[in-house]
């Protein structure tokens, strides 16, 4: 099980790096798909089955297809890809690395939480999450539908050519 964790973590970090590094936007999206796959694997590892299913359907199904569709629709490829100057790239990598350094250093100083073997591993199942979702979070769940309606109307309004 721990080998599986290290493999998925390695895959996630490697493909996340490739998303940023490769020039062609299509390849970038495919590497992002690999990253999402490994994050779905992580969800399965800590038995969050509902989140794994939702991540699989929403991120890898809907969002990735939307990205891929827009990239192909706008006909973008590696030749038309705008590049920042080397100085800006260098500064970006340095500042990102410094942030990572600060975060990791603070986690090293933080109190380590001991592994709790008594914890309930069944909370991520659909049955338990559904009970929580519809008992305690029924109102936010309904409000999310309003949010989707607003997003749908907004997207149609933005993409329409001349709003007369």
């Amino acid at each position: 099980m721990d080998k599986m964790f290290y493999f998925l973590a390695f895959l996630a970090i490697l493909s996340a790096l490739m998303v940023v590094l490769v020039k062609n936007p299509i390849h970038s999206i495919l590497y992002l798909l690999v990253t999402f796959t490994s994050i779905t694997g992580h969800y399965i590892l800590f038995n969050a089955q509902f989140l794994a299913a939702v991540n699989f359907i929403v991120y890898m199904g809907a969002i990735m297809v939307l990205f891929l569709f827009v990239i192909m629709f706008l006909n973008l490829n590696g030749e038309t890809e705008p590049q920042k100057s080397t100085l800006v790239k260098f500064a970006g990598v340095i500042s990102g690395g410094l942030l990572l350094l600060v975060m990791v250093a603070s986690f090293k100083k933080a109190v380590t939480i001991p592994l709790n073997t008594e914890v309930d591993t069944q909370i991520g199942l659909i049955k338990n999450l559904g009970m929580v979702l519809f008992k305690d979070y029924a109102l936010p769940f309904e409000l999310a539908s309003v949010l989707f309606l607003v997003a749908m109307i907004g997207a149609v309004m933005l993409a329409k050519k001349d709003w007369k």
Partner: protein, 106 residues
């Protein structure tokens, strides 16, 4: 099947999420293509989701996973609107290069 939460310490997930989040930040800072920047934001969002789900699982509290579910719902809505904005920007400027959007400068 024995769950990973009894073998791997929580710190491993914190470090993993921090690394993915920082890669997303580097992507936002170093790329000029608006869609790639948007994808880097998605990467950061996913790192946060992973960490929230990990904390939730390690403490045996289902509320965190419900929050991750809501974050995913908001992210889906955000992607639809954001990509519509990028398509509109492409129609107006003929490019998705964010460095062309500097009208506020002068």
């Amino acid at each position: 099947m024995d769950s990973v939460i009894k073998i791997i310490p929580l710190n491993a997930y914190i470090i993993l999420s921090a690394v993915i989040f920082c890669i997303g930040i580097v992507g936002v800072l170093t790329r000029r293509n608006a869609i790639i920047i948007f994808m880097s934001v998605e990467l950061m969002l996913n790192a946060v989701n992973l960490l929230l789900a990990a904390f939730s699982s390690y403490s045996g509290d289902a509320n965190g996973q419900v929050f991750v579910f809501f974050i995913m719902a908001v992210a889906a809505a955000e992607v639809a609107v954001g990509l519509a904005i990028i398509v509109m920007m492409y129609r107006n400027t003929g490019s998705v290069d964010i460095d062309l959007l500097n009208k506020l400068k002068n």
